[in-house]
């Protein structure tokens, strides 16, 4: 089968234009020297390059990314499994529903001290925080996807003799796939949040530690450089998931 790429509309150009406008505004406001907390973007870029050159960003970034990937993939795997289970079996759903709902609305940062108590002040806490932040949104989206499966498709498959396993593999799973992918995308953004929150609270490793350090020592250029790096990680992560979504969900 051939796969046509999405037609390139003028949207890409508009987005590029918006980005240029944003950077230009930042530069102008920065040069106006309103506050030391608003340096021009060109100087931030300089500081960013400095952090790249002296290896700070790679050192901190590598530690952050390792925690991010570990926490996220664990959350993705277990989140999809629990979401599928909850979507398909009402007993599983009733058992976990109130837990998942509570955790969805709970301020998760408040739980990080508990994780520190559990794991000690170590990198593992960051992985656990990433997991915690990403897990529930993946569960809920997967669950919603399974529950949204058209009843008539299930009936159709049954009329041709489908058993439980076939129903699951050939109807529920593909039907839930778009929602699962949405959950994974939202989860990726949440995971980056969890990474930063975890690292800032334990102040020991990664980009989050650098944020705290530069913030406390008023190294504003470097602070912005790290913030931008985190943003880039979030955007790249979300784009990666979106790309795999387009490959997997071709029919939409």
């Amino acid at each position: 089968m051939t796969f046509e790429p999405a037609p390139q509309s003028g949207l890409g150009k508009v987005e590029a234009l918006a980005l240029v406008a944003l950077l230009a505004t930042w530069e102008i406001v920065g040069r106006a020297d309103i506050s030391m907390f608003l340096p021009p973007v060109s100087q931030v870029a300089g500081a960013w390059w400095g952090l790249v050159a002296d290896g700070t960003l790679f050192g901190a970034g590598a530690s952050s990314l390792a925690a991010l990937l570990k926490g996220y993939f664990l959350a993705a795997l277990l989140g999809v499994v629990l979401g599928l289970g909850m979507g398909r079996f009402s007993a599983v759903r009733y058992f976990f529903d109130s837990w998942v709902n509570a955790m969805m609305s709970a301020p998760l940062s408040a739980l990080v001290p508990v994780l520190i108590a559990l794991f000690g002040i170590r990198g593992t806490v960051v992985t656990a925080t990433v997991f915690l932040f990403a897990f529930f949104v993946i569960v809920v989206n997967t669950l919603t996807g399974v529950r949204g499966t058209e009843r008539s498709l299930v009936e159709m498959a049954r009329s041709f003799g489908a058993g439980e396993a076939e129903l699951f593999l050939r109807v529920y799973l593909p039907s839930a796939l778009p929602a699962v992918m949405l959950g994974l995308r939202l989860g990726a953004v949440q995971a980056v949040k969890g990474m930063v929150v975890g690292e800032m609270l334990i102040s020991l490793v990664g980009l989050g530690e650098r944020l705290v350090y530069y913030g406390n020592t008023f190294l504003i250029h470097e602070l912005y450089a790290v913030i931008l790096s985190v943003l880039i990680v979030a955007i790249v992560g979300s784009q990666l998931v979106q790309w795999s979504e387009r490959v997997l969900v071709r029919w939409k």
Binding site: M1, S152, L153, A157, R158, S159, R170, V249, W251
Partner: protein, 253 residues
């Protein structure tokens, strides 16, 4: 091709909670017959079809398809659905093969049967790689029909298959269905709310009365076949039969 089989519906009762849906329904469908079930909404006609298909259990009574007492979906029957029930993530070809795949037919034979079924419903060539969302309603139901035919059933169960399709397309589909039926001589049970459709297609029309659903009348349709020529629809006999059904249904409303 396998021999067509008859269907015996014997004293079927069905309840949904405290609501009686069907009460003592008995119908004998002859092998190779085209039978329609019609009735006011809420008369349980779709419920009855699902019981025949083995998708719903009856409270009491039984359904026998050929020699098999229905306990669940069986290999003799295949179903065509009102909302087409096509997998949106699968191509036309994959959709047509889906039923055969679930019935465990090996890949090579499955592809061959799908090919034949696709040709039979007039979809050959251009559409096989398309996704359902790219097709019109009429085309989608052709895919639904091809999927049902690809398992080579002896009985076709059709649940208001053309209800959501525009009138012009519907007439073409009805004629094509008659073509398929006269080629293959399958037993067809069709649920519909269209009096014209019931009379035009059927050998007999069963009228169900509502709350609870009961067999109210069984009408013979002595119109000549083949009917696809267009003369049947224009004939006085056709109009009179449709009016007969209407007079019966009117008193049931």
């Amino acid at each position: 091709m396998e021999q067509a089989v008859g269907i015996a519906v014997e004293g079927v009762h069905k309840e949904f909670g405290s609501v009686k849906a069907l009460a003592d329904v008995s119908i004998a469908v002859r092998a190779g017959e085209f039978l329609s079930i019609i009735g006011p909404s809420g008369c349980g006609k779709t419920t009855l079809l699902k019981i025949i298909a083995g998708l719903l259990p009856a409270e009491s009574g039984r359904v026998v398809v050929g020699a098999r007492t229905v306990k669940g979906p069986g290999p003799e029957c295949s179903m065509v659905f009102q909302d087409f029930a096509l997998l949106p993530w699968a191509t036309v070809k994959q959709n047509v093969e889906f039923g055969a795949r679930l019935r465990g037919i090996p890949a090579l034979e499955r592809a061959e049967r799908a090919q034949r079924a696709i040709a039979k419903v007039g979809l050959a060539g251009t559409f096989e790689g398309a996704y359902p969302a790219q097709l019109s309603g009429g085309m989608q139901q052709r895919v639904g029909l091809a999927r049902a035919l690809a398992v080579n059933p002896q009985v076709l169960l059709m649940d208001e298959p053309f209800a959501s399709i525009d009138e012009q397309t519907r007439r073409v589909l009805q004629d094509d269905l008659l073509g398929v039926w006269s080629d293959e001589r399958k037993t067809v049970v069709l649920v519909t709310h269209s009096m014209e459709e019931a009379v035009y297609l059927s050998d007999r029309v069963v009228v169900l009365s509502p709350r609870p659903g009961k067999v109210h009348r069984v009408l013979d349709v002595p119109l000549p076949r083949p009917r696809q020529s267009g003369e049947v629809r224009a004939s006085a006999a056709f109009a009179r039969l449709v009016d007969d059904v209407w007079q019966i249904l009117r008193k049931l409303q």
